[in-house]
Symmetry: C2
Subunit: 637 residues, 2 copies
């Protein structure tokens, strides 16, 4: 008997309109966990190299993890993964909320979708029973309409719906997946993959709790967390102000608030888009996820002029940055509206904001004209143009059709040197964290297998022991942190370990806001919780190896799509001086960056010439079976 | 304040006849622990490349570890390390007993000896006070005489003496160090390094217990162990019969008892040298080490014809194998006598027995003649010749002078193809474990930085979960063992992890007989004990990283002495069929062996072309400072 996991993985073949169930044993779950590692397993095992992301060949994975639904705070996440239409390599996005625990309650740890339906469908999973239902009447509907109709026709208000809106349907390359209207698997264009499969939504209902080996131990951890999180400087801030309340002001003051497409690290109107303003003018209530007392989500409302519907939640810091400072927009109501539109239409707020900022810079430099924009005066700060473009991107109207391809492809079309305005790595736009001020982000963005990804590894602000009086990395052998802007050898070492911690969470289904470096729950408590949930005789060693395996498994997927060291890059702007803010003049050093990459590849067991994981490292991680799949990419070896 | 360690390392400069004390902080001890890792730190940090082992340039390290003296069963070991005169690369040997806890009680975690005294001296460390005393009157004395005289002149029967006899003085390249007459730092010729420094002995006395952070927790572990070890199939066998009682019969039946210089895996007279015979005819009492209830040591006595003195303890399995089956000798009394002589004269029983077996094979094949041997009929089974040769090796008389160089150098002198009879890697003779039947030993012997070393990593018999009903490697993510003779990828993976466990013990000062794979104490209990002793917020992750660091630090030392992948070899005989026993016909597959090495280097982060640790791996392990020291050995890189 298995504990902590259902042991069942649902496979949905949309070509054949058939479903089946794969059962796995303890060894499988200990090796692949869930989330991105499990998704990588299926992408490697069941797919050939060089898949076309928007073809039926792509595999779309919805994966919870062994800690989901266990009651440990933050144990409510899931990953949607596939080959990304934005990057062409491993794509993934996580979300929290209630969908992931519901999936396990409904009887499955993960769903693997292959092929594509001829006509729009949605999946309805009710207590283990799966139906593929017609979704013709849902096509074209936004997420709110979609959820309403599905709940109505299934006769239950409590059905959990993850869906795409027009963005996903129209194959916007950065379309997201939204569950419960407020929780988004934002990045990598997973919504477009759903769209390409004519899969409108997955609706869930389940009541069966996965059995736990030692529920009392989990309850103790949960209680302890609930009693203590408000005394923790990070958790408390997240509870009190959400990410928007925490980051905008602090990052602006530190000179690392991405502003006007990463020209500056400080925004003169930061106050207008910060948490204080948000809470004063637009805050309705805090929201949260299953079994988590932090409730870090904010809900926004506005009566207009830009009416903002609270059904769709409210902006995270990333959204405030992407539609605020990055676009030079100081109108927080417009930012909230942009958030609402993105959740309605299923667009990733980061890539949407960044692609618009890219277009603004093109416009300011004459590479886009009024003719291109359909008359829009697409300058930094023009919030009207920004909101208009979101609509057009979702529907691929006018210039929206070009921008729906993401900044890298758009730049290739626009030409004229506009590539240097596309703030992306591997095709995915950078999140609202400034590598010139947080060196760990330089590594995270360059090295993540899914392109610039701010959830790849803890940020420098978090992983300096003592930075918040919460130096808890001693258990990993890191007794002293290093400065945020330092990109030397010790940063690489710490980054590698830190990356393992967040990739542990990724694959176990944990939130990065409750546990790990700079958070209340220690890594060893996460390992204890895992043991309590599953009954595994596990340890922090095995858990960290799971994180390491996750990193390398994802890399293996990307390598098979053609990614190599030459793709582990940053936008050129990162090597140019910041133009404003506390760190004005600061640039990354190219030689230092390359040296850091060299050290990283060695540390991870990837060939530094190619960035391809070595056969022996794959073998050590239990991924030896995947090594022959990478042989053709080993180049000189 | 430090717990669990003294924080003090004694440095003895024999050139200047001066001593000094280095103090270190928690970060130092967490990084380098003690034992071989600490020794490697000093060899890398304070010595140049390509040291001549018997010159004053060599550094001789006596290092306990953070678990020594804590009361955890088996926490009583220390390493003696230096560049080895036998191998020319990293040399090390561990011993248990009482000497190591006494060192910490006397105020030091380790002693670093540099230079060489003009005349014989010994060190006397009494409650922190160090004296360098004249040892002219001790020179030429065996260990028993030496200990008696030192105790007499220091006026205490409880002084702990580690000393060399004639073997060390005469620079026999496999001379050992003996403490309390019964405990030996056997391998790598550390006794010869002592001899080259004119250092006859180190005498200790101390009463100061190192403070522990949580002594109660340690007492609980100790009590739990004491209450349970007799129910454990391995610990019980060790307690009841010692290693001689366990291994001879079992290995013979399994076809892996090294016989007649590794020609056969079965000895027709195994019964005559087995534990049952020993206990019937020669056993006096069991003996043990500080704070360990197992008491796995045997004490032997015989009234003659070969009178055996029980002061010197009795033979381990290694000794019974080396002087018994390996030399084709069925006279167990002669084996016990050989043991006594080796402990008196400070000769490593394994290398002594193996070098004599080598000489026997040379003689049988006409490569050595009566003229060479001084009339000895040096055939397999001639126990009289064997005992005679031990004497001659210690004193370098006659052919003993040649054999005192070890089998590799002797073969170079003898020529005629005799190299193929030298059962050594990197110049160190293989221990009494048969790689053709235990594939993990093929890797341990080939890859250990100190040459063929049976304490490098757990043996296959031990690390198969379930082999003894003690599958306890799940905490390392190993859920299923693989067959002993299997040398495929999964063996490499398990070997790498297992090697880390024993190297953890090496550096923490723990015995491999009480903890780890196939033993009673789990690795996680070792980590808990370490936390209790030191107060460190540590984890199994950090502890295993310490093991990994130890492996690579030792390798770095050997690389600087010129070792590369081409030295990671096994004797040719290992690729030839076993001539007798259950595994008759079994040979290692060369291609499989080379593939296993490839996978291992990748897994450890060593360049598979050169066997040199990569800069990024060294950096990840906190050894980045040592990377430039290896640059000249990176070859093509």
């Amino acid at each position: 008997m298995l504990y902590g996991v259902t042991g069942k993985i649902l496979k949905v073949d949309l070509d054949q309109q058939r479903t089946s169930v794969e059962e796995h044993d303890e060894a499988f779950y200990r090796t692949y966990g869930g989330g991105g590692c499990l998704a990588s397993y299926y992408l490697l095992k069941e797919r050939p190299a060089k898949i076309e992301p928007l073809s039926p060949d792509n595999l779309l994975v919805f994966a919870s993890g062994p800690l989901v639904g266990t009651g440990i705070p933050g144990g409510n996440r899931f990953s949607v993964a596939a080959i990304s239409p934005l990057t062409g390599c491993y794509g993934e996005a996580e979300a929290g909320g209630w969908w992931s625990p519901e999936l396990k309650k409904a009887g499955y740890d993960a769903i693997i979708v292959e092929g594509a339906a001829e006509k729009p469908v949605y999946l309805w999973i009710d207590e283990g029973t799966v139906r593929i239902r017609d979704a013709a009447h849902l096509w074209g509907k936004d997420t709110g309409e979609t959820q309403d109709i599905i709940r109505c026709e299934l006769g239950s208000r409590s059905v959990r719906v993850a869906a795409i809106g027009p963005g996903g349907e129209n194959l916007v390359r950065f379309a997201c997946v939204v569950n419960n209207l407020r929780h988004t698997n934002g990045r990598s264009g997973m919504g477009a993959v759903m769209g390409s499969k004519n899969l409108k939504a997955i609706a869930l209902h389940g009541r069966q709790q996965v059995p736990m080996k030692d529920r009392e131990a989990l309850i103790r951890i949960r209680r302890w967390y609930a009693e203590n999180f408000m005394d923790h400087p990070v958790e408390r801030v997240l509870h009190d102000g959400g990410t928007i309340g925490w980051d905008v002001t602090e990052l602006d003051e530190a000179g690392i608030l991405p502003t006007r497409n990463f020209h500056s690290g400080s925004f003169e109107h930061a106050d207008a888009i910060c948490g204080e303003t948000f809470h004063r003018d637009f805050f309705v209530e805090a929201d949260g996820c299953w079994a988590c007392p932090v409730r870090c989500k904010r809900v926004a409302r506005s009566q207009g002029p830009d009416v903002v519907d609270p059904r769709y939640g409210g902006p995270e810091y990333e959204t405030a940055g992407a539609f605020g400072s990055l676009c030079g927009v100081s109108n927080l109501e417009a930012v909230c509206k942009a958030h609402e539109l993105c959740n309605k239409y299923t667009l990733d707020t980061i890539s949407t904001g960044s692609t618009i900022a890219f277009a603004m810079e093109c416009f300011e430099n004459g590479l886009l004209t009024h003719e291109d924009t359909g008359g829009l005066e697409l300058r930094f700060g023009n919030d009207r143009a920004m909101l208009q473009l979101i609509q057009q991107i979702a529907t691929r109207e006018g210039i929206g059709d070009l921008l729906a391809e993401g900044s890298r492809r758009a730049a290739q079309q626009i030409g004229g040197g506009s590539e240097r305005f596309a703030m992306q790595t591997k095709g995915q736009e950078m999140a609202m964290h400034e590598p010139r001020g947080k060196a760990s982000l330089a590594l995270a963005y360059a090295l993540s297998s899914s392109g610039a990804n701010h959830t790849e590894a803890p940020h420098d602000f978090l992983f300096q022991p003592g930075a918040f009086g919460v130096g808890d990395m001693a258990e990993l052998g890191i007794l002293e942190g290093v400065a945020a802007q330092y990109l030397g050898p010790e940063k690489v070492r710490q980054f590698a370990y830190m990356q393992m911690t967040w990739q542990v969470f990724n694959t176990l289904g944990m939130c990065i806001f409750t546990a790990g470096p700079g958070k209340l729950l220690k890594m060893s408590q996460v390992a204890q919780a895992l043991a309590a949930a599953t009954g595994w005789d596990t340890s922090l060693w095995e858990v960290m190896k799971l994180g390491e395996r996750t990193i390398t498994a994802k890399r293996a997927v990307s390598v098979r799509q053609g990614i190599s060291r030459s793709d582990d890059r940053l936008p050129e702007r990162m090597f140019e001086p910041l133009e404003g803010g506390l760190l004005k003049g600061k640039a990354l050093d190219r030689a230092e960056f390359e040296r850091a990459l060299d050290l990283y590849y060695d540390a991870l067991g990837w060939d530094p010439r190619t960035g391809v994981p070595t056969p022996g490292k794959l073998n050590e991680l239990g991924l030896g079976w995947a090594s022959p799949l990478l042989d053709q990419f080993r180049g000189r070896e």
